[in-house]
């Protein structure tokens, strides 16, 4: 590999240059002495202007943008992952498939394709607890959990999840016994991880839909356990 310092500086300068253009939430510095249609400083207007440009150039299709937003706002989210978890709890054969080849198992629901982007599911047990993080950016299993919450992408979570995972989950209200091994998965490559939480006690009579309703996003990231059904027997 040969990234020269010049390559690096060129890239850095280009992007830093972009960063030096009027800050998104700062007032527009009126430094241009010639007349032109200056870019607005307000992010709403600025993004609108960019969208208009890209649509006008035929680079993006506005209906595709609407469809993408609608998909991630309404169609793809933690309910997907919850259905996968519920089936794994209800069907031991499915669970083994899920742990061995998550793509294959999730293709049953149409969430992933066998040939597509890769996913891995890691199982919580009475002796092992798993926690997912992306220390370098924000990698997250979109297909089953949707887009990540702000805290997952934040510096406090990304920095400490690897060095003090027990302290981090404690902030979420999860106290792990000293005898439980904590396995942290840092998503540094194009594998996306999801936790298969432990099935709570008192759920033996529940069907798959009822089980899925108990499963939370936080449990599938590993910062929480799945609580038993409220009012149900512990």
């Amino acid at each position: 590999m040969s990234i020269t310092r010049r390559d690096f500086l060129n890239a850095a300068t280009a992007t830093a240059g972009a960063a030096m253009t009027p800050g998104l939430s700062d007032a527009h510095p009126d430094e241009h002495d010639h007349e032109h249609q200056a870019e607005p400083s307000d992010p709403t207007l600025r993004v609108k202007a960019l969208e208009s440009l890209l649509v006008e150039k035929g680079l993006v299709d506005r209906a595709a943008l609407d469809a993408l937003v609608d998909t991630y706002e309404h169609k793809i989210g933690p309910r997907n992952g919850a259905r996968v978890v519920a089936r794994a709890w209800a069907d031991p054969v499915y669970k083994q498939r899920l742990l061995a080849d998550a793509n294959d198992a999730m293709a049953d629901f149409g969430y992933l394709s066998k040939q597509g982007d890769r996913m891995v599911v890691v199982e919580n047990t009475p002796t092992v607890h798993n926690l997912i993080v992306c220390t370098l950016c924000s990698c997250y299993p979109w297909a089953v959990l949707g887009l990540p919450p702000v805290w997952y992408k934040s510096a406090p979570y990304r920095s400490r999840a690897v060095i003090d995972p027990r302290g981090v989950v404690r902030e979420f209200g999860l106290e792990l016994d000293q005898n439980v091994e904590l396995h942290v998965w840092d998503s540094t490559a194009e594998l996306r991880y999801m936790v298969l939480p432990e099935r709570p006690a008192g759920t033996e009579q529940l069907n798959e839909d009822e089980l899925a309703a108990l499963v939370t996003r936080d449990a599938m990231v590993g910062v929480a356990r799945v609580a038993p059904p409220s009012g149900g027997k512990r």
């Binding site: 960063a19 993408l68 706002e73 891995v120």
Partner: protein, 219 residues
């Protein structure tokens, strides 16, 4: 690049701030930036590694100050210009240069569902021998490249064990700079917490880091 983005193991960044019933997007413009990045990405003029690197080269103070989608917007603008889809003048004027032919968008609404499962598009179905076997003891290389890398600082020089082989993927250190895909095996490498953080870490805890062949040496 030893940038601010490589924050695994840093301390004193404050408590994790949890928002109850958090919306997917906090403003309409965030959703549009998100969608534009995916739709423009369908031109395949750049890749996910190149996009990540646009955030990494933000000045550290800006990286910490800007919101997530503000970073995306800057990255999108940078890639659009650098990869030739838009000129700097067009960005500034908010209109296509006179006489520009209108393109046909590669991603239309009907194609959206089918494209999502291969959005990342980084695994390669190429038969290649892995350099390491499951169970093998390895040491992460101590490299400090100025460009993009996915080998986090906290793991460099540390000893671990190959836990599983995920198959062949493009290599981010070259791919991010359009210097070739350089496909190679990726493994989950198990690093004991005490190897990474010393005796105060819990004895049986560990951190799994995904590593490419070129990040590892036999140990």
């Amino acid at each position: 690049m030893n940038g601010i983005h490589d924050m695994g193991g840093m301390q004193d960044m404050g408590p994790v701030e949890y928002e109850k019933n958090e919306p997917v997007f906090h403003a309409a413009w965030e959703a549009r930036v998100f969608a534009m990045m995916l739709a423009a990405g369908a031109w395949r003029k750049w890749n996910l590694d190149a996009f990540r690197h646009t955030r990494e080269v933000l000045p550290p103070a800006d990286y910490l100050r800007l919101s997530y989608y503000e970073q995306w917007l800057l990255g999108l603008r940078d890639l659009l210009v650098r990869r030739g889809l838009v000129t700097a003048a067009e960005l500034e004027n908010g209109a296509p240069a006179p006489g520009t032919a209108k393109a046909t968008p590669p991603l239309t609404a009907d194609k959206v569902p089918a494209t999502l499962p291969t959005r990342i598009h980084a695994n390669r179905d190429i038969p290649m021998s892995p350099r390491f076997q499951v169970g093998q003891r390895v040491r992460a290389r101590n490299i400090n490249p100025l460009g993009h890398t996915r080998l986090p600082r906290y793991a460099r020089g540390k000893f671990g064990t190959i836990d599983r082989d995920h198959g062949v993927f493009v290599f981010p250190d070259t791919n991010a700079h359009f210097l070739g895909e350089n496909p190679q095996h990726v493994y989950s490498v198990c690093f004991p917490a005490r190897e990474l953080w010393g005796a105060s870490a819990a004895e049986k805890d560990c951190v799994y880091v995904d590593m490419w062949d070129d990040y590892l040496d036999p140990a």
